[in-house]
């Protein structure tokens, strides 16, 4: 495919006839918080310490003896109208016509405008040194929806490894696909719909109460605050 063919943002393909639009459904009723997806992703891409392409946010709610843990697997939302793509000054990030939002490491200058633009913190900056010298450094990286696997007919590493089948991947434009059926049959939410980015990770919530628990900015519990402080002392506040 020539370099410039999808240099600029591909048009939104959600619901466009004859086009594929890959999406993921995360069924939170099935997530057990085993972090296998995080590990699979770290292994698949040799993701360095301190940054994540996918992660699982954990919150403990309630008081003993009525305690529950809520999990929220997170990854790039592969938005249909991604703000990172429109912010990149050198077209280093682009939207593939089938919905993948991808990064061209050979173009990225590391200005981090895409990280500032992303409402979901889905992008990260690669450190100076990596154990594998052949992998890119000092540029912005992100979840690719496992483009290299999907283009060969495999499921993304995180979906493939998920023990509870909480992560389901597929073409949402195809009404017979599992993701399309799940989105049609269940009440789903996306993160921060008010940002107008049309996120393509659909969450099936375990119950109504947890919706307000999981999404949005909340006052953090004391232990999380301590962890945050430790993290800042180790990695610093900013790049």
């Amino acid at each position: 495919m020539p370099e410039r063919s999808f240099g600029l943002q591909a048009p939104p393909s959600l619901g466009a006839p004859g086009k594929k639009r890959y999406a993921m459904v995360v069924d939170l009723r099935r997530c057990i918080g085993c972090m296998a997806c995080v590990l699979a992703d770290k292994a698949e891409f040799e993701v360095p310490l301190g940054v994540w392409r996918t992660w699982v946010s954990v919150r403990t709610v309630g008081q003993y003896p009525h305690v529950k843990k809520h999990f929220l697997p997170r990854l790039c939302n592969h938005c249909d109208d991604p703000p990172c793509v429109r912010s990149c000054p050198v077209q280093a990030t682009y939207k593939h016509e089938e919905g993948f939002v991808l990064q061209r490491y050979e173009r990225c200058i590391g200005c981090r405008a895409c990280m500032v633009a992303c409402p979901f913190n889905a992008r990260h900056f690669l450190p100076k040194k990596r154990s594998n010298p052949n992998l890119p450094t000092n540029v912005v990286d992100k979840c690719t929806f496992c483009f290299h696997r999907v283009s060969q007919g495999f499921a993304p590493a995180c979906a493939q490894t998920c023990v509870g089948r909480a992560r389901i991947f597929g073409d949402i434009n195809d009404p017979n696909s599992e993701v399309a059926k799940l989105v049609a049959a269940n009440s789903t939410i996306v993160l921060k719909p008010e940002m107008g980015t049309k996120p393509q990770i659909y969450y099936i919530m375990p119950n109504q109460k947890s919706m307000s628990q999981e999404v949005g900015l909340l006052e953090e519990p004391a232990d999380v605050k301590e962890d945050r402080k430790a993290h800042r002392e180790h990695f610093g506040l900013y790049f």
Binding site: M35, W52, V56, V58, S87, V116, N121, Y238, F239
Partner: protein
Amino acid sequence: MLDYQVFHTIPWGMRIAIYFWLVGASAGSFVISSLGWVFGVKKYKPIALPASITAIILLLIVPIILIADLGKPERFWYLLRPDFWHASSPMAWGTLLISAYPGAMLIYSWFVYKENEFQAKVWGILSIILAVSTHWYTGVVMELNPSREINHTSLAPILFLTGAFVSGIGFLIIVLFIRNFFLPADKQVGAEMFAGMGRLMAWGLVFDLFLIFSEFLQMSYGTGDEIVALKHILLGVFSFQFLWLEVIFGIIAPLIILFSSFGRSLTGIVAASILVDIGVLAMRQWWTIGGQYLQTYFQ
């Protein structure tokens, strides 16, 4: 403690905040420089050249900071490659502005030095448009990020420009004050000129205070995230920069100095200028880092 938490870092840090301050001070100095040659306020003609040279020097530091801040500094020229250029990115336009602005100022300064009235006016108009646009862009590049509650306001460029106006005049007053020690008595900048610039700065500060009040009012009646932003940043982590450095030491204290009898003396004006410059730098810091800081709370 048993929960596994993932935290995020802030992409744009102090270097970007200093860059915003430098561009602002440069644009503010240039406004004073253009008063004499472009807007016909004859009183300011003698300081046009030192003002524009201050503006150029401040702006020449900018590319160094920005390129050093890139992950791949050796690829900075990709920003200028026509085949990579991306029209929807504010930064692509900002690169053009930052490249063009010092050039136009240099040509303007040359014609001011040669005292070519017509050419200085033409290049002065072009430079003042570029000066305002370059600084307007720094507000825009922060503003066009919908998830950064503090930055996502159409007041951002106006707030930045007002800060630029006052910090530029303040910096110029300090530069001219130091310059006076190296000049013979007949070539020194007079007390009347300093008083005039002090007056301009004072009215800029009044407008700045009004803008901050408007923004504060809107945020305190805002959406949930805006109220959290107000609580966490303006009154929490960044309250030293916002409340103390920017509002109290950076605006209210200089205003009291400038409108009192102390403000008529040269010492008063220079003291107010130093306070204003520190206040604007603090504003650039919490404005840049604060919006992103809140974003890291979203897990």
